[in-house]
């Protein structure tokens, strides 16, 4: 009888391991593979309008008349900016982590009106400090800190009316995704905040009477 229970235990353990591995690892592996494939095919930090194969692959139910674009963000060495003209439509930017979950989902109502200016910055989380970097609006640029050195950005723009479709597609062509110079020396968000920027020493005052 104990032999039966041993085998049953072995069976259950194998089933549990397979079940958990499939559920937890498959989405992560699939997202990672997609990111790697996109990076190889389209390159990093380059904005590409999506159509054909990649549109079918990434978007399950494309919205009619909508324009789609992606940028594989490589943030390890430089922040990356998405810049371009006002899309004159409803639009949304979704940032997927290499694990496949959504890190940011923002839309046209969350940014200042006018040109599109979104900066993605890599801010490794300093676990000892336990601080989390938050999105900020600097002048007219929305700064989104990411704890991932690479991520996938998907931009979707829907015209208010089908008649505006050509305009939206034309404006989308002018969007750019490009690396920019880092504004802070340190990568870690809490450390960067703690670092003191060297200030020029004030010149000593001349004693009175000295020319």
């Amino acid at each position: 009888m104990s032999r039966f229970f041993q085998l049953a235990g072995l069976f259950l353990a194998a089933a549990l391991v397979a079940h958990l591995a499939y559920v937890l690892l498959l989405p992560r592996m699939a997202a990672n593979a997609l990111l790697a494939e996109l990076h190889q095919d389209l390159g990093g930090n380059v904005f590409h309008r999506l159509d054909g194969k990649w549109l079918r692959r990434i978007v399950r139910h494309p919205v009619p008349e909508a324009a789609y674009g992606v940028c594989v963000l490589q943030l390890k060495d430089h922040p990356v900016e998405l810049t371009g003209p006002d899309l004159r439509s409803q639009w949304a930017v979704t940032v997927y982590s290499p694990r496949g979950d959504v890190v940011y989902a923002i839309n046209d109502r969350l940014v200042p009106e006018g040109d599109v200016r979104i900066r993605f910055e890599y801010r490794a989380l300093d676990s000892s400090m336990g601080e989390i970097a938050l999105p900020k609006l600097k002048e007219k640029t929305l700064v989104l800190p990411l704890q991932q050195a690479s991520a996938l950005m998907l931009l979707e723009a829907w015209p208010w009316h089908p008649g505006q479709t050509p305009l939206v597609h034309r404006l989308m062509k002018r969007l750019r995704c490009h690396a920019v110079a880092a504004t802070r020396p340190a990568r870690s968000w809490p450390n960067a905040a703690a670092q003191k920027v060297p200030m020029p020493r004030p010149r000593p005052k001349r004693p009175a009477g000295v020319p």
Binding site: A14, V17, A18, H61, D101, L154, W160
Partner: protein
């Protein structure tokens, strides 16, 4: 010359034992994988919310969602839709549970939810491409009481009409834009467009 252990009685016993263990492990793996796939389709675990014929996955893509909710989308070989201020609702049957067929005409009726914009699209379930037909908020005709009547028919109809494929089954996708996070959780309880079969040829 010594006889290899496997050819002796004890060796055969060990081999038989190993074979049994391997079979049990293999069976366990198969059952584990099968159960994972089955569980991903279970509404409660996959985060599926159903209202009439419409289904939605409002927590898809959210980091703290159950892992089955993620798995469901990757099994479909697609990224989870953005969980921002929009929602994607899918219907593959009418309100009586019969698959949407190109041989039949359907009426969608009811009040549209108070959202910034909406698009209703007819998709071929077998092909991942742009929709076969679509109706957008800006093009829809509303009744005086603010409700909508939309006809799904392969033949031309007046009013709000979406052309459906003549023979095949199809899928309806309703994209809602401009939903607040609070509204997202309650949206399906508020009642959506009812899908009623009108007649079949």
């Amino acid at each position: 010359m010594a006889i290899p252990a496997v050819y002796t009685e004890g060796g055969a016993k060990v081999l038989r034992e190993l074979l049994i263990i391997m079979n049990v492990l293999l069976l366990g793996l198969i059952v584990g994988l099968w159960s994972a796939r089955m569980t991903a389709d279970m509404p409660a675990l996959a985060g599926t919310v159903q209202a009439g014929a419409w289904r939605a996955w409002p927590r898809a893509g959210v980091a703290d969602a159950l892992p089955y909710a993620h798995l469901r989308h990757y099994l479909d070989d697609a990224l989870p839709p953005s969980p921002g201020d929009r929602l994607e609702l899918v219907a593959e049957t009418d309100d009586d549970g019969r698959p949407l067929s190109g041989r039949c005409a359907y009426r969608l009726s009811g009040a549209m939810l108070p959202v910034r914009n909406w698009i209703l699209a007819v998709h071929d379930p077998e092909r991942r491409e742009h929709p076969l037909a679509a109706l957008q908020a800006a093009d829809a005709l509303y009744r005086p009481d603010g409700t909508l009547h939309i006809l799904l028919d392969p033949h031309f109809q007046t009013g709000n009409w979406l052309q459906t494929p003549r023979r095949a089954t199809y899928r309806l996708v309703l994209h809602l834009f401009g939903i607040s996070p609070l509204q997202r959780d309650r949206i399906l309880g508020a009642g959506l467009l009812r899908i009623t079969r009108v007649d079949c040829s």
